[in-house]
Symmetry: D2
Subunit: 388 residues, 4 copies
């Protein structure tokens, strides 16, 4: 199984040019010599390249995958290299919590955290004082650190998701690309001329709407915020309530970050053949229980369910309402290069923590500006561009 | 195995709305009652929906897949329904020729042909007089009928590929869509900002170049025909010789219909990491033997080979130089709706042959104008549009 | 006045690079030495550059402007150089016919014709035998030569409008550009987010629809031909009858080549503030008499009339229903470079007539392929591109 | 002259739907009854519609145009309506300062300011205490209020330019549109296939680059800020130093907000025929003195100068290096609707000052969120859209 994981990691590694260069520098400079880094992250081939880069810098690696997304062959590959990785795809939530506890029990000095799970556990168990610092990948983790744990975190935590590089490169462009790629891969449906409705015009919604339109889709937008709706209108989209758009939509994609966007009230409006998918982080933007309760469900492919509704209409739900660009049997997720950017921010922020934590304020904070600019310059080089 | 084939056919069937309606009419009117249709075509889920539509019209079905592309589970599904289908994925070319002979031996009255294989065999074996007529899917088959067999075909053959519906809907838009979909699916590589070179600016090349640019790719075009190059330049692309573009290309895609486009002379120019793919019908646009002879080859994924060239450069070849949107382990191919258009032309042309062959000239001829217009109107309806 | 004309010609001349090079060659080779060329064409700064190029080749120039479009300062500038140019902006139709007669009376050997006016006159007056040949700029002239005068023209006439270079460079791209440029220049109205209806999806309509959408317009198409409508739908436009679209249109642009597209039946549907413009060659696509009869007309700018309709609605008509990209006080028309292409076809076709008429068939015929390809190659160079 | 001004105002007024509605409400509610508003703004037809809206609300209007941009016929039209407007197009800078002093001498209670000229004068002359408050249109005025006059302004000043509505609607979309409109209007040059360089990728540069590319231009970007350059690269543009791009540029447009972007060091690189234009607020982005010193200058049109440089090269400068979308003989400027948005912010902010100044903090402050949202909702309605 480790061999299978290694092969999947190999292609990814060849396209992560910035991390490749960084591994060479880390191997020479060993910024993490003698340091244990505790991880909580999605364990899949792209993250494996991040983890091996940290290890090349001298770090001892302990950690756990996220609940439900762990890829067992990648775990095996990492374990075979001597890392201490907990977790399997089929872990129960209780087992996952035990894995977090096991990670903390290994006494990491630095955390690479996701949703602030490790930081919260460290604070609760009184181990925070022994921590140098860490990074936090997600907005929801940043929210937790800033609101629930306000003032309780006695070490610096660099929040990756706040970086403008991430908003531009990942949230808009990479999610836009993966939203159209995954839609086409899962459905084989024609995009040009089709009527799409995108609910939500934040960074992700903007990317999805713009990429679908670029491919010839006839895209409308549903949005409740005046300023975002105004931007969508100037960007050339029809903006209207979902209830007004649903009746003529061939495809509806939710990307709002909120619950209950496509609900029971819309079911009567959907036309026969409509396809429903969600790109938002949480699986409750489409009210799947309401949808399945209203009709008869049957699987038509591994990733598509048909739901027969009253009125002789069948609608199709992608990957059970979970992020259809990341769920299913062989998801591609965001482009490799966009993750190279994101993981460079992780690796360099962790290095900053390791070497200069004393000079940083405690608590959550943005990625240092010089790190953003350094990565931006390197990305330009990889894209054949250069600063003036 | 038949069950697996049936499940793969099911999703396709739900999105082929025009064929669905036609099946109902055919079932009522039985235009092929008592007629045997001999097939030579790709056997995969989309074509299965065409074949079942012909069967619904009363036809007895005999036939064979194309060499190398036959999908065994779909064959099994069709056989289980009582059709006489020859061929397996692993057939040798000799077995394939035997399958063509077996098909002709079943004495079909109408041919659904591909590359004019059945027509040529029927003429050679003196069975042409008993044929009512047929259709031909491909340009290369039409060429063979018009040049090699000029005047020898004593029955009408409607050439599907000549239709403007096919040039617009399939060659430009559907190939454009599948070229970007398959590139992203196979590589997970970022499109926006990447430098692409498209060799060839015919219908397919135009589609590929325009879809890649729509997704943010920086696209240049190589083209030898002055008029096509002029169109590419007005369409906003840089046009230059491949030898001039190759050195800064991240991705090179050939779509010319000719052999020897990307050859040994370009190998020294390629930059480290370049990805090479072909969308042209034949696998000799990229000179794969020259490429593999010049370096060391290793598989990095099931569909991508790494070729290490002199000068510490590794380039990547998609699906061995075969059409990367149709080859590999789980190709999507052109969008379902575009094939609904193409197969409607097949089905209605075959019906025209069955019912009115006496009123048609003999030899190759375009799809009747009224059939094109009928399908165009129906397509508009499916896309939520209508004629003035 | 001649000075004013010269200054307007100067800028144009600097951007017509192909004609500039050709003038040098013509001056050296004198292909028209001793030949009188009779002209019937729009006399404006761009055509002046063509005419001076022919003169540089040794031609004696006689001719007349078209009825209603002659620019007097350009006439003066050409006369001052010794050319015999008839016609003024305010000529009556009778005076225009006299100008045609005067042109023929000068016994030209070669015609540069527009609408076949000179050719018809020469044939009618029995002078055709003394003519070497000529060119015809327009589709309507080609129609007249091919239908009304079929077999009557004993000299070769090269029809410029048939060239693919013209369809691509001028009809689609240059008209598309000038349609958006002129709309913005005349109205100062915001394009992104506005709802446009384009009636007609031929070469011009495609250009207009695509350029408006590129600028963020929400564009729908009205079209009566199934194949063109099918292309519009695949190109991502909503296609619907004009009567269905008119009620929510902010702007309606006709480009069909037919009369009576926007008529009395649509007036009740128009919303307050709607802007109406025509790009088609003839001014009867919008039924202006019906429009003005239904309401009260007042000029709001030199090029825009307000028409107050029943129901407290005011709609706005651009340039009286004439081609709004060519009419009005200071029209820009098609881009200079696109006219450089068109006039290169004129100049090289006239040279071909002068030097090789004996080798050409008589009657209307397309631009020789080698001339198209020569110009295409030169255009590529000017755009910084090159053939493979 | 007043009549000429009125006619130019009339068309504008018909397309400023939000201000039209507001005038009705103001006329009924008279929020400025008894209040004198002192103006310092560009006096041209669009601003006239703002001024008449304020007058409809009961305000007594006194004020002056900006130096150099005052349109005399519009001044005449406003004076004829009884407003006290100072300034003429040809005023010297001393006369302009006198006009500001005259405006302040009329003792306005509220200021509509531009560059903080009126506010600075009021503070300097000890009249600040009698002021209720005001608005400031520009970034440079906001800078002056925040930096130079920090703490000195004892009344609230709402800064219009900070609003997201302005960044989106005006800086990106309206400037983008006017940059392409004005380029085409001034030059009549073909956009598709041409190589453009845009210097600066801020809000304006993004708009310009994206609109030029949308029309088929081959656009590269020069940018010195890493994050902006990274965004340009992900948006699909080649990013490179201006010195690298200048040699193959057909057109260079500066939009950086800084001085000395296109300088003497680039002159040797420019190719024959290159067109140079500036969209940045200040006329020193192109170093015009260096350019004219290096060659021979002659006017080719009213808005285009030819500069013959060593090496037999002629380059062309638009409107003397001033904002070419606002300068010249008949500039269109930003779309009417975008100014309707901007002036709604002015009018509603001034109303807020008039009615609720006591509830506002003193000093510079953003447009109140509820005003932004109110205008965004109304804009959606005008564009045929609606909030969810």
């Amino acid at each position: 199984m480790a061999a299978a994981g290694e092969q999947r990691i190999a292609w990814i590694r060849t396209r992560m040019g910035m991390l490749a260069n960084l591994r060479e520098r880390f191997a020479a400079e060993r910024p993490f010599e003698g340091v244990t880094i505790g991880l909580s992250l999605h364990v899949e081939p792209k993250t494996a390249v991040l983890v091996e880069t940290l290890a090349a810098g001298g770090a001892r690696i302990v950690g756990t995958g996220n609940h439900g997304s762990t890829q067992d062959d990648v775990v095996a590959a990492l374990q075979e290299r001597g890392m201490t990785i907990f977790g399997r795809r089929d872990d129960s939530i209780e087992e996952h919590h035990r894995n977090l506890a096991r990670t903390i029990a290994e006494r990491p000095q630095i955390l690479l955290d996701n949703g602030a799970d490790l930081a919260a556990l460290a604070v609760r168990e009184g181990l925070a004082e022994s921590l140098i610092g860490g990074t936090e990948e997600t907005t929801s983790g940043a929210f937790r650190l800033r609101e629930e744990m306000d003032g309780e975190v006695p070490f610096p935590v660099i929040v990756i998701n706040d970086s403008p590089l991430k908003a531009i490169g990942e949230n808009r462009h990479a999610v836009g690309q993966s939203a159209v790629e995954s839609f086409m891969r899962l459905t084989n449906v024609q995009v040009p001329g089709r009527r799409f409705v995108v609910a939500g015009y934040g960074w992700c919604g903007r990317g999805i709407a713009q990429y679908l339109r670029a491919l010839g889709g006839r895209v409308s937008v549903a949005e409740i915020d005046e300023i975002a709706a105004y931007e969508a209108a100037f960007d050339g989209f029809r903006v209207a309530p979902l209830a007004e758009l649903a009746g003529s939509a061939d495809v509806i994609i939710t990307a709002t970050g909120r619950a209950g966007i496509l609900t029971a009230e819309h079911l009567d409006l959907l036309q026969d053949g409509a396809i429903l998918g969600n790109i938002g982080h949480f699986p409750w933007e489409i009210d799947v229980p309401a949808l399945t309760a209203a009709g008869t469900v049957s699987a038509v492919t591994e990733e598509i369910d048909a739901i027969t509704l009253p009125g002789d209409r069948t609608v199709y739900l992608l990957t059970g309402g979970r992020m259809y660009n990341l769920a299913g049997t062989a998801p591609r997720g965001n482009s490799i290069e966009s993750m190279d950017v994101g993981f460079m921010m992780q690796a360099l922020s962790l290095e900053r923590i390791a070497l200069q934590a004393a000079n940083l304020p405690t608590g959550p904070q943005p990625v240092p500006d010089d790190i953003n600019r350094h990565i931006a310059r390197q990305t330009l080089t990889l894209l054949g561009s250069a600063l003036a």
